[in-house]
Structure formats: C-alpha cells, structure tokens
Symmetry: C4
Subunit: 202 residues, 4 copies
C-alpha cells in the first residue's frame, strides 16, 4: 500500500515537498547579493556597486524565470498523474539534486559573465535540470501514470516536444559559451521564454 | 482542465507556494544582520555595534511590516477569488520577482540610510511590489474572477483605492529621497500603517 | 465573511504560515556556524575551532529548544481555537516579529557569552517573545475564541499560569545578566525545560 | 483530546513541520558553497576554484542523499502510524536537533576531508541522526502506534533491521576516520545506498 506512493495523498505530500524546495531555492537565489556591511562613502561608490551587480541581476532573473517555468510545468505534470511509484520519487529527487546548485552556478556566472567556464557551468546545470525534467515526463508516460485521454491531448504532446527542444538548445549552449558567453545567455532566455509563453497558446 | 488553474485545489496550491515564498523572505530579512565571528573585546564595542545597527533594525521593521501587510491583503484577495487563469499565475510570479529583492534593498537602505540612491532603490522596490499587487486586484476584477456580490462590497472598493493610493505615495517617495531620505522613510511607514490599520475599520 | 479570519480554513492557513516561519527560523539558527573556507592546517587548529564554538552550540541549543517549546504550545493553542479575528492575526505577527531576531541574538550571546549586554539582549528577546505568546493565550480567552469546556480544563489553566511564570523568570534574567551571565543562561534553561516537561504531566 | 497528538490531523501537521525543516536543511546545504564576490581574473583561477570545491561537492552529495533517504523512510513511517503521542513528538524534534547541524558538519568535512576530526564529527552527526531515527521506529512499534497487520509485514521488519545495521556501520565509521578518512566516506556511501536501494527490493 504505502510502498509505491500510489495513494493520492502521497502524491500531494511529494508535490508539497517539491514545492517547498523550489520556493526555498527561488528565494535563496537572492542571498547571493551581499550588501557591504559598511556604509558607502559616496553616492558614486554606491552607484558603482549597483552597476557592478547588473550582470548578476540579469543572471538572477534568468534563473528566477527558469525555476518559475519549471514549477508551472511540474505543477501541470502532477495534475495529470493519477499514481506514482518509488522510481518516480527518485527521479524527482534527481531533479532536485540538479536544481539545488542553481543559486551557486547562477552567482558564479553572474559575477564572471564573460568567463566561458563559468557560463558553461550554469549551462550544464540548466541542461541537467531540463533533461531530468524531460525524463520525469517520459517516465510518467512510459509507466502509464497518466490516463490515456490526457496523453492524447495535443497540448500535452506539444509540451513534451518543447521540453526536449529546450534540453537540446541548453546542450548546445554549453560549447557555445566558448565562442561567446553572450550566445549562451541569449539561448537561456529563448528557452525560458519558450517554456513560459507556451502557456498562452492553448 | 488543468490548463487554466481553474480548479479550487490549484488556487490552494498557488497560494501555498506564494505563502512559502513570503514566509522565507520575511525570515531571510534577518540574515542581513551579521554577528562578528570574534567576541567583542569590551562592552563599549558591543554597544557601539548595536548602535550602528539601529537604522538597519528600523529598515528591517518597515520591510517586515510591509510583507505582513501584503500577506494579509494577498490572503483576502485569494479568499474572494473563485477561479484563476495562467495569466493570474504569471502576475503572482511578477509580484514575487519584485518581492524577492526586498532583503537586499532593505539591507542596502538600512546601512546607507542617508544615501538618496540607496533609499530611492528600496522605494522603487516597494513601488513596483505595490503596483504589481494593485495589478493583481485589478486583473481579478476585470477578468471577473471575483463573484459579483463581493465586488459590490464597500470595503472591497475601499481596499482597491487604498492599494492605488499606497502605490502613488511610494512613487512620490522615490524622487523625495533626493530631498531628504527621512521623508521617504516617513512615507514608507505611512503606507504600511495605512495598509495594516485599514483592517480595523470594517 | 473573509474579513475576520472566522472560517476554519483561514485558521489553518494562518497556522501553516506560522509553522513555515518557525521551521525556517529553527533551521536558520544553524547558519550562524560559519565554516572557514580554507582547510585547517592541523588537527589542533580544527579542535581549537570546535572548542571555540562550544558556547555558541550551547546558545544554539537553548534557542532551538525554546522555539520547539513555543511550536508545541502554539500548536495546542490553535487546536483549542474555533475562530479567530484580525487582531489575533496581528498578535501572531507581533509574536513573529520578536521570534525573527532569535538567530541574531542567539549568535551574539553565544559568541559573547560573558558579555552582560549580549546576554541581556537575548534575554530581552526571549522575554518579549514569551510575553507576546502569553498575550496570545490571554487574547484567545478574553475574546472567547476557545469553547467554554476547554477553558475549564485544569491543564489549560496550568499552562496559562506557567506561560506567565516563564515570562516573569525571563524578565528577571535581563538584569541578572549584569550580576553573572551564567545565572541568565541557567534561567533560560529552567524556563525551556519547564515548558517542555509540563507536557509529560497531564 | 489535543493533549496527545492522537488526531490524524495532528499527525499531518507534525509531518508537514518535519517536511518543512527537512526541505530547508536540504537546500541550506548548498549555501555553504560561497562564490567569491570579485570576478576571477583568469580561466585558470576559476577552474582551480572549482577543482578545490570537488571534495565539498562530494560531501554535499552524501549529505543530500542521506537526507533524501531519511525523508523517504520518515514518510513511510508516518504512513504506517495511526496515532502518536507527545513523546513521539519529542523524539521527532530530537531527530531534527541532530539533523540541523548537517550543513555545518558537511561543509567542515568537505573542506577538511583528510582531517580525521572533521570526518569523525560528520560521522558522529550521521550516527546520532540515524540512531534517533531507529529510535523513532522502535518507539512506534513498542507503543503500538502501528497496526498489527503492518508490523507483520516482512519488508517492515527488514527496514527496521537495515536501520539498525546502518546505525552500527556509522558508529564504526567514527573511529575508522582516524585510520583513513576515505574508509569513513566509503561507509557513508554504503549506508546511504543501502537505505536508498532497499526500496527497489519490495
């Protein structure tokens, strides 16, 4: 009974645990912005401090939107599932394993936005997270955790395809960081916008 | 079915996610108070350390009350809504996007309370957050997400007006920080008190 | 309808928000233990680092137990309440306002455990938090938020009295920190043990 | 009625509180990875920074998996319980008391992975946490909080035995850190894999 997370109440608990972790990571992102403990000696110093943070704000914004997009998709996936099993639970935690370092890789890429290794690292992180999420969808389909009538939904198929397209674009953004880190950032934004905007075309 | 967050259970999930984020931000605020790792060498040093923190405590208190006021209003808004849609979800996340930097802008303004740029920055942050919250109310009204009988409630109309008034005062507090940062702080307190105290006049 | 938090679902939401904040503060406490980023050069250095942290561990333990005791009591209070109002909500947030600085005052007292001002500060914090919690009980009783049959329960009366006794002992621990900070720490432990152990005598 | 956490709704609240704390600790782990505030001056510097972090990533991974394994087991334990009492609540908080320092001991062992004291400390922490969790199972059995038919389940007995075996191996890993810290890390991984993989053999 309890061994396979088959009861609906268990799905809810799992989703709540995932929600808690996602809400914490999304707010922890902002802890990377450290305010100097001493007051700035002049307006110029403060403005230059803010100016220096701009790439970090940008990097923060991309990760913020990415986690929001994943939360919405994760939510829709769980709406469609009518049972789960322990392997699905493990896949969820694998997803969390790749989600957790986002505050770290985001800050690293924000502060070193022209460094290809730093940007490639956040690209790898996004790619692993996205791939893991695609695997969650695929697993749910293969294991027939989703009722047949929902599987035939055109929008469901489209979202699965977009999920794979997104993962491929993120994969491409890893080597492209060594051509120009700006290309990678543009690709990050394209992927997150694709995931967010698809919800308006249903 | 699941595409528009129309089920009540979905509203609850969204509200819980928002609650989780608000509870984390309200507690993360306090992480900006760093205790020196070495013990103070004298009572005088410790007292001077505490004395230096007073403006930061004040700034913290304003942000704490602001988030509490927003939580209460957010709670009342969700009590009135009987359905939602994906755009309403996005507006909620836009609200969170402006809520998240509050620990950063609060600490910056607390440690640089006489610096007009630092105080204008937190004013901009409050303004965007407040405006976004007003937009949530307006959206819920325009999209008829609130039953008619609740819309006609006098207190509902009053709260919508106060929400707009608050946003306007916060808008004014941005340039006024360059006249005197104290004026801005007084306006912040007036706005938050207005939002908190209105609940006693129903 | 929604104006007074009178529905049971609203009490649950408030309690969940309070629970979220308490769970965050209890875990944030541990963030005050900073691990040096560089490896220690010898076993002796590491042992001396741990040794230096012992008073902080002790201070952490007291605050940890205090929050646990408050969570249990808060839980029992909410179990007894069958309705609430907006003032009760505000009292809860006043309680949170005094709970939030606990990670800060705990770390300050842990690292400066012989400094009377540091220990008096955490004592003031405990006292305000405890008093606020006593006020919550009193408010719930005076406003008849608790059904009569529960009010007559002997254990209920005992817990209210202990809550006041605890607040008084914490009040005494403030000036006594200037006699010896160890007296204050002993009083903190007595109060928290009293609150925890009372549950075994029912 | 409310005195013994005997209602199902009370178990749910306790489990949610435990879930909240576990979700926070699992995400707080990652805060130990500090990104230098200044950009790296060269690719080499950044790569060497990442290289230096590898043992910390490894230590992080072990703790991450350990908490996940505990969450799953904790979840299964609560699924089986049909009532609780105040002592069970206290045991849960004792478990949390030993869970909370994990971010600290994990970071210490990661940055000082060849230092026997640092690794012994995290081993002690794992051992106390594991023992406390075993005690939770035992308490639930002895106090007949689990229905008889579930107690006779072979997998239930196996999991209790594995829980004790895991605690014993962790106990052995404490002195073995002084032979070689690598032995301890291997034992940590064996224990966590045992706890995770057992779910596939049901």
């Amino acid at each position: 009974m309890s061994r396979h997370f088959t009861e609906e109440s268990e799905n809810i608990r799992l989703e709540m645990f995932m929600d808690a972790i996602m809400s914490i990571i999304i707010t922890i992102l902002v802890l990377e912005f450290k305010v100097p403990e001493e007051p700035f000696s002049s307006n110029g110093d403060l403005l230059s401090f803010i100016h220096h943070l701009l790439p970090s704000f940008f990097s923060y914004g991309v990760s913020f939107m990415t986690i929001i997009a994943l939360w919405i998709d994760h939510h829709f996936l769980f709406r469609k599932i009518n049972k789960a099993d322990i392997r699905f639970v493990f896949l969820n935690f694998l997803f969390i394993l790749f989600l957790s370092p986002i505050p770290f890789t985001t800050a690293l890429a924000g502060r070193n936005y022209t460094n290809p290794y730093a940007v490639a690292l956040v690209a790898i992180n996004y790619f692993l997270m996205g791939t893991c999420f695609s695997a969650l969808w695929r697993f749910a389909v293969v294991k027939k955790m989703i009722p047949d009538n929902k599987l035939k939904d055109w929008f469901f198929k489209r979202d699965m395809i977009l999920s794979n397209v997104g993962a491929l674009v993120l994969l491409a953004s890893i080597p492209l960081a060594f051509v120009s880190t700006y290309i990678s950032f543009v690709l990050f934004i394209l992927v997150v916008l694709m995931h967010l905007l698809k919800h308006f075309f249903r």
